[in-house]
């Protein structure tokens, strides 16, 4: 197996994901546009993955550690509050009689 991916691999992934995002979002009911915004915002907090790597590498410089720490903190706040608040909003949507 080859480590790392070629640029064209990454471009394929990006193109497919963009088309997919387009199809998925178009179908979201306008009823849910507010929770959608807060969900995508929360999902984007997955950049925490990059922040973790930067912070905890063996050869991380103090600067990298500081920046990484802040990034992990910011991303975690987003992920946690974003997901919880989306759920809180969605919990309120009820059909008649539910």
């Amino acid at each position: 197996m080859i480590e790392g991916s070629s640029t064209t691999d990454l471009l394929f992934v990006f193109m497919l994901a963009a088309f997919l995002g387009f199809q998925l979002i178009k179908r979201v009911s306008p009823l849910l546009h507010s929770p959608l915004m807060s969900l995508t915002n929360a999902i984007a907090a997955v950049v925490v993955v990059g922040a973790i790597i930067i912070t905890s590498e063996g050869d991380a410089t103090p600067l990298a550690k500081t920046l990484g720490f802040l990034a992990v903190l910011a991303a975690t706040i987003n992920a946690v509050s974003g997901l919880l608040i989306t759920d809180r909003m969605l919990k309120m949507f009820r059909r008649k009689g539910e």
Partner: protein
């Protein structure tokens, strides 16, 4: 090698879960399942990352995550629903800051090993540019929404030129750092210019246009995340960034369409001026007004009522009273529906969230295209704090600033009742001919107080 496989499998699974999450957001029945998916996806992505063999020191990361959770949880539960637009803005600022900071750290680590002009360098610079400009832009948007800053557009002479110069400077620094090896001395400059550009982008835009700006910033944040994925060779980040980017973009397009504004109008800033220029001109034609006492029996005797909420309901936090009114009317045998305009309020889906919070069943909320054909058969159209979204000028007057914007045709109902505090204009700053129609009755007052009174009168009938 084996753990690498597990890590990649975790990323693959997390991507799949995020896709399912968005797929299930298509309907309120499955949306909560979608959030579950997103939660599991995030956990799997983090767990996979912690397994990587280049990840060795856990302490700092764990402290940051615990701290983050300790801040995030109360934030989520204490946030009032009316503050959602602000919260989204500040959260974009945090997210974009994280992306930018990671970019800096990566640059110091990787740049010396990369060939000048190579693809990862391009990706890194794009990541930092988008990250930092989104960060300050979101902060300004937050400040305007929270009214910490003046909400009117801030303009000065030569603004376009300044913007252009700043943007040019950012590109120049980026170019230097991409093509000249060991030019890390320019990095602080580059960051400063990117931050400044974010500020300049948003200050000339009026506060009321912030929702569109926020959707667009969501899209930029997504692109920044994808750029980071390209730089770090991480497909999960690319997928999430692309999903996020398209989502923000599509929401911005939807908002523009519903306001009949061109999209470039948003992209190149400078709007909201229209609203600032045309000042709300109340004219002297007579209007009919009614008290709650007079209005209650009319509502009670109607066989169908369509309630049309707008920004005023949100400002007055009147949603719970409106829900009570709805229940009372339903109990007296009146058929009640809510007509929801796509840009009623100040963010997409604003009315839906507020009414859902007040326990109005969502199958009572009808979209514009579906309610308009029913308007002529409707006895009473009860407008609560909406204005532009029911302005017949958009349909009838080709010279109106909102000409062509789709509206809810409240004027076609047999009786129109309007709850608002005065004759002043709405967001677009223009007069509304509906107030002067023969079949229109104004119920002057704060939306919350007035609905409260209506409910009381109905109880006494």
């Amino acid at each position: 090698m084996d753990t690498e496989l597990i890590v990649q499998a975790a990323y693959l699974a997390a991507s799949g879960l995020f896709i399912l999450a968005l797929m299930w957001m298509s309907s309120p029945k499955t949306a909560r399942r979608g959030v579950r998916c997103a939660e599991v996806g995030t956990v799997i992505a983090i767990a996979g990352t912690l397994l990587r063999h280049d990840v060795v020191g856990y302490d700092l990361v764990l402290i940051a995550m615990l701290l983050g959770a300790a801040i995030g949880v109360p934030m989520a539960y204490l946030m009032p629903m009316t503050a959602i637009p602000q919260r989204t803005a500040i959260s974009h600022a945090f997210g974009a800051l994280a992306v930018g900071l990671i970019g800096i750290a990566e640059y110091y680590k990787l740049a010396s090993g990369l060939a000048p002009g190579s693809f990862p360098l391009w990706a890194l610079m794009l990541e930092m540019l988008l990250g930092f400009l989104t960060c300050t832009a979101s902060l300004i948007a937050f400040a305007k929404l929270q009214e910490i800053m003046p909400t009117r557009p801030i303009m000065f002479a030569g603004q376009r030129l300044v913007n252009l110069l700043v943007f040019g400077a950012a590109l120049a620094f980026a170019g230097l750092m991409i093509f000249l090896p060991n030019s890390s001395q320019y990095l602080p400059w580059f960051v400063a210019v990117a931050l400044l550009f974010g500020v300049l982008l948003v200050i000339p835009i009026g506060g009321a246009d912030m929702p569109t700006v926020i959707a667009l910033l969501n899209s930029y944040a997504g692109l920044a995340c994808s750029a980071m994925g390209f730089a770090l060779n991480n497909k999960l980040l690319i997928v999430v960034g692309a999903l996020d980017g398209t989502s923000g973009f599509i929401l911005a397009v939807i908002m523009c369409k519903a306001m009949n504004r061109s999209f470039s109008n948003v992209l190149f800033g400078g709007f909201g001026q229209v609203a600032a220029a045309a000042s709300g001109g109340a004219d002297d034609r007579p209007v009919r007004s009614m008290s709650a006492e007079e209005a209650a029996p009319v509502l009670e005797l109607a066989s169908s009522v369509v309630i049309i909420p707008g920004y005023g309901m949100a400002v007055a936090q009147a949603q719970h009273r409106v829900a009570e009114l709805y229940e009372h009317l339903e109990e007296s045998g009146v058929e009640v529906k809510f007509a929801i305009h796509p840009v009623a309020g100040r963010m997409p889906g604003h009315m839906n969230v507020l009414l859902a919070e007040a326990d109005v069943p969502y199958d009572k909320l009808v979209e514009l295209e579906d309610i308009n054909p029913e308007m002529p058969q409707t006895d009473v159209a009860l407008i609560i704090g909406a204005n532009d979204t029911i302005n017949p000028a958009a349909r009838d007057d080709p010279n109106s600033v909102i000409a062509g914007m789709p509206i809810i045709e409240a004027d076609k109902a047999k009786t129109v009742m309007v709850i608002k505090r005065s004759m002043s204009a709405g967001f677009a700053g223009i007069d509304n001919p509906i107030y002067y129609l023969d079949n229109t009755q104004m119920l002057f007052g704060d939306a919350k107080k007035m609905t409260e009174q209506l409910v009381k009168e109905l109880q006494e009938l």
